[in-house]
């Protein structure tokens, strides 16, 4: 059976950051991801990131992924793409399924002293009448089609949700030649960054605030969407309905942490709406109620690629330290990462996430969840 000090599940920014730091500290690290290549959602991000240099400002997401993958390989991380974690058994055994070769032996078990879960998040849906018609899909699905496979999901597109995902995907689909007929959001103001919304406004894309999709209609696929304004309880108001002729509706209504493996390990969960819903409780070392399990990135509360990367690095340092790796310099590194996360969680968009994260940490303290290296 294969053994490693640390198993990292999920090769997005969180998992890559965790694997890099743990390997640099001296631990043997195995990083698995179900996709053909590591990088997670970074590979779909064709726009330039902004912020600070330490968070790769000015670089495009897929370039950041390449940089991190190369850094992980240099640090000695064993990278296993096309490998899906199927779950854990008693005595800490882990089952990994290789998707690479249809004929070869595919299931194998392994043991690790610590596991870092970076399983990310899944997209939410909205169940309006007609949401099961072909042509209704999540914004992330559309982004995969367009930016990974080079296929436009449709020609006339309406987007539900004005968060960053909806805004960015909308603009990218316009660049790819689709017509974006509007962004619809129940909230009274745009939810995402103004820098992304401004691009759509300049292209005269209408943004229907305080509105929602009432119904999608069509024979064999979406042909029409009815939108309407909502009242204070987000219910559609009669008489405000209008019909939009379109072939595609994208749902960009938030993400939920992918908690299956964390739940399997018995990690205590809580419901935190500001961070995406049900998520594992963790302390500032990213340790869960199961002392051998660490979490980071969207699984530990839905935020952004930059926060995922920093949280992953924190989890990697602490998990490695719990295995006896790392020197005294790690304390300064941890302090720097925590200060970096504080900077990322500031301002109009970041502050609510900082408060929610603090509530999670306090809950961990009340429940006596304390990582070994605190």
């Amino acid at each position: 059976m294969k053994c490693a000090d640390i198993l990292v599940i999920g090769g997005g920014p969180g998992g890559l950051g965790a694997a890099i730091e743990a390997a640099k500290a001296g631990a043997s690290v195995l990083l698995v991801d179900e996709n053909p290549r590591m990088g997670g959602q970074l590979y779909k991000q064709i726009h330039k990131f902004f912020g600070s240099q330490t968070h790769y400002a000015g670089q495009r997401g897929f370039d950041i992924a390449d940089t991190l993958i190369a850094e992980a390989a240099r640090a000695g991380v064993e990278l296993l793409p096309q490998t899906r974690a199927l779950g854990c058994f008693d005595e800490g055994q882990f089952a990994l399924l290789s998707l690479a070769n249809q004929d070869a032996t595919r299931l194998r078990t392994m043991k690790a002293r610590r596991v870092i879960l970076a399983t990310g998040a899944k997209e939410n849906a909205v169940a309006f009448p007609g949401w099961t018609l072909p042509g209704v899909m999540t914004a992330g699905a559309a982004q995969t089609l367009a930016n990974i496979y080079g296929v436009l999901p449709g020609k006339r597109i309406l987007i539900l949700g004005s968060g960053n995902v909806g805004l960015i995907v909308g603009y990218q689909l316009m660049q790819a030649g689709a017509q974006v007929l509007g962004i619809v959001d129940v909230l009274p103001s745009v939810h995402g960054y103004e820098v992304h919304a401004a691009k759509l406004r300049r292209a005269n894309v209408p943004i229907y605030l305080g509105s929602t999709v009432v119904e999608a209609r069509g024979e064999t696929r979406v042909q029409q969407v009815i939108i309407g304004q909502v009242d204070a309880c987000f219910q559609p108001i009669e008489g405000t309905h209008q019909t939009i002729e379109c072939d595609t509706v994208l749902l960009a209504v938030g993400l939920s942490p992918r908690t299956e493996i964390a739940a399997m390990f018995g990690c205590d969960m809580t419901f935190e709406r500001r961070l995406g819903g049900l998520m594992p409780i963790h302390d500032e070392t990213m340790c869960t109620s199961n002392q051998t399990i660490y979490v980071c990135g969207d699984l530990a509360g839905v935020e952004e690629a930059s926060t995922a990367l920093d949280e992953g690095r924190l989890a990697g340092i602490h998990a490695a330290a719990a295995c006896g790796y790392g020197d005294e310099a790690r304390h300064a590194r941890v302090a720097a990462l925590q200060s970096s996360l504080n900077t990322l969680r500031s301002g109009m968009h970041g502050q609510p996430r900082k408060e929610a994260k603090n509530d999670i940490l306090q809950l961990a303290h009340r429940k006596g969840i304390v990582g070994e290296t605190i």
Binding site: V214, I226, E260
Partner: protein, 106 residues
């Protein structure tokens, strides 16, 4: 785009696509006393299909919360079991050489 006065017909959207469970059936389950995602799953089969509730669990959670049930109660769901994603039986035909046990031939 055309603007028109419109009244949506009364429709009942599917919530769990795998098991084809509609919103009215979820609401009926709540009326019968279901208070969590896992209770609704056991009463209606919503979330028991191939995808194991990956999309509908969250939708059901929202319906429960909208019905006045507290989020912390509503989110209760069954622990995921091995394997957490559907996989072909052939995946279990072989394993690591050192783990392999010679099965007696029949």
């Amino acid at each position: 785009m055309t603007q028109q006065e419109h009244t949506a017909p009364i429709t009942d959207p599917i919530i769990c696509r795998c098991e084809e469970i509609r919103k009215s059936e979820i609401l009926q389950a709540i009326e019968m006393g279901c208070r969590s995602v896992t209770a609704i799953k056991k009463y209606t089969r919503a979330g028991m299909g191939v995808c194991q509730g990956r999309t509908c669990a969250r939708l059901i959670e929202q319906i429960l919360i909208a019905s006045g049930i507290s989020p912390q109660a509503a989110v209760a769901r069954d622990k995921a079991r091995f394997p957490i994603v559907p996989c072909p039986i052939s995946a279990f035909n072989g394993s690591d050489k050192e783990d392999q046990v010679d099965a007696p031939s029949i």
